[in-house]
């Protein structure tokens, strides 16, 4: 069979649309507004989510290996394969601490989905200065991964963020409350009356309130100061934050003596919020697509009737049924395509106006996904909507048109 010469189909489709200029303009604007709303909504909500997630877990571990709060399997005399994968040592201490942490750090670091992993030793202490005593969370970190999980190096506002013995990196809130500056010395106490003199090496500002109450010192110093034999946890950040739960579950199955927790488990409420936001945005997008489809279907449906005469004569001259229907699918594509491009421009303008006008703390998420999804959806809707008139055009018999004038 001869290859279809479909350049003329495009030309006819275009001329049909240009001939009904007013009608075409209205429907293109309709598609554009739909695409703009879609793009704007999804970019806005994604932007908001990225910012929320970043605030919540950007400077925090995504998954944690924690001591299991149950008796280790080995203690009950049942040492299965998974338990043997741990160091093989079964210690009752592991109820509050992890002894064989190096294995977990190594395992996590080997996994390509994991960005960084480090052990951490936590303690609760008090800082005395002048007459004031305040409680602080002391984090014993290991450079560089430990520092980077909390983004301390990136968020340092004064001093050099290096872990060295007798040097403390201080959250800004503590520094402000105790008027401590880089180079100042202060005393850290533990609950057993131990004392440690530390020098402020750097001050960091993590934004979140909890983060700014941190005091970071080298891990080994925390271990000895708080008498921790192992470590408190192994912390990790992963490349795709939403995969954290799966990764945690995977590792959790391998280990018997520790439990794994992902950020999702620790932030159920936030997740539910994010999910309902996404659902409402998808719902709105769905109805926008439905209305675009209906608009295109009705306009092209009318056009198929209006152009019956032309279609009849084109068919008499040799246009095949398939060509006739393609002319309408192409019209759908043109309406959808031009409308979406216009809509993206409009959406970007709306987004820019929104961010500039409201001074929103988060930006629009302009990604391949937020840009392409509305276009692909609008094009698909246009093509699907055009199949009804396309079928009508294919079914039209030229002789009907010619006999009825």
């Amino acid at each position: 069979m001869k290859k279809p010469a479909n350049r003329y189909e495009w030309m006819i489709a275009l001329r049909f649309l240009l001939r009904g200029r007013g009608q075409t303009l209205l429907i293109v604007l309709g598609v554009a507004v739909g695409v703009a709303v879609q793009f704007f909504l999804s970019a806005l909500i994604s932007g908001l989510q990225v910012s929320l997630i970043d605030n919540t877990i950007g400077s925090a571990p995504h998954l944690l290996v924690l001591p299991a709060d149950r008796l280790p399997a080995g203690a009950a005399g049942v040492l299965d394969d998974a338990a043997r994968r741990d160091s093989g040592r079964v210690l009752i201490d592991e109820l509050t601490e992890i002894q064989s942490w190096q294995t977990y750090v190594d395992d996590l670091r080997r996994d390509r989905r994991v960005l960084r992993a480090a052990p951490v030793a936590n303690g609760q202490g008090f800082i005395e200065r002048g007459g004031a005593v305040i409680a602080v969370t002391v984090k014993g970190l290991v450079a560089p991964d430990g520092l980077d999980i909390y983004r301390i190096r990136a968020k340092t506002v004064a001093g050099a963020p290096e872990l060295a013995s007798d040097t403390a990196l201080l959250g800004q809130r503590i520094a402000e409350r105790l008027t401590l500056a880089v180079g100042d010395k202060f005393v850290l106490r533990n609950d057993r009356g131990g004392r440690l003199v530390l020098r402020v090496g750097a001050v960091f500002d993590l934004g979140a309130a909890a983060g700014n109450d941190l005091l970071a010192v080298p891990m080994d110093q925390v271990r000895s100061f708080f008498a921790i034999g192992g470590v408190s946890a192994v912390e990790a950040q992963v490349r795709d934050v939403f995969a954290a739960e799966d990764i945690a579950r995977g590792f959790g199955r391998q280990y018997a003596r520790v439990k794994l927790e992902s950020w999702q488990e620790r932030n159920r409420q936030l997740l539910t919020g994010l999910r309902s936001q996404s659902t409402s945005s998808v719902t709105i997008q769905f109805f926008v697509i439905v209305s675009i489809s209906l608009a295109i279907a009705s306009v092209l449906g009318i056009a198929a009737v209006q152009k019956q005469r032309q279609l009849g004569i084109l068919k008499a001259m040799g246009t095949t049924d398939r060509s006739a229907s393609r002319i309408f699918v192409i019209q759908g594509l043109l309406l959808g395509g031009v409308g979406s491009l216009l809509g993206l421009g409009l959406g970007l303008l709306m987004g820019w106006g929104f961010v500039a006008g409201t001074g929103a703390a988060f930006g629009l998420e302009v990604s391949a996904r937020t840009l392409l999804t509305p276009i692909v959806l609008a094009l698909a809707a246009a093509v699907i909507a055009s199949t009804i008139p396309a079928r009508k055009a294919a079914a039209l018999s030229p002789i009907e048109v010619i006999r009825n004038g």
Partner: protein
Amino acid sequence: MADAVLRTRALSKTYFGKVDTPVLHDVSIEIARGGFTALIGPSGSGKSTLLNCLGLLDPPTAGEIEFDGRTIRERNVNELAAFRNGNVGFIFQFHYLLPEFSALENVLLPCWIGGGRPAAERRREALRIMERIGVGAFRDKAVYELSGGQQQRVAIARALVNRPKVIFADEPTGNLDRESGQAVLGLMAELNRESNITLVMVTHDREVALQADHIYELVDGRICRYFDVGRSGREAAAREIEERSCTIKQ
């Protein structure tokens, strides 16, 4: 007939609906290659239906059509469409030009549909035909800016552009004033003589029919009379048509 470009054998056509309407009964005719054949008869006699069947636009209910030696059997509509594009041209009472396109583009439409020939060559050919027909000057005009006669000439150019074997014309001057009608007819007769393209025309105008080489007269969907004008002479045919009305003995 020695050299017939079209033959029908026992062609019948019935339109099926709430009430079935038989329109053609057992029509067997031959159309001479390169000649001018007129189909005449009273309104409702089935002239246009026969023309549309011959032009492969309307499939017959029964019977056979042989087009240029090929028997057109049950072909699918798309194959028929492609066959029409390369072999036949249509001129209707209403010009049926596409208002979305200029005069030249309308003439080019059958070439675009058929594809094949390079664009420049098609354009040259279309312009040559338009010049010949006297509408070259209007090539870039929108078709609705042209007069009825000019529009019908553009439609003739469109029918000619793919160099068809047969042109089917259904009352091509029916919608024109007398003067434009005469000019269009004269032009078609000239084209028929100079290009060897077969012309089949439905007309109810006796004057027009008498310019043809062959005349078939239809009554109630049947061939009632045939005149070989070349053999019997124009006057004899005219007298016969004038003096005796044709009736079919059942």
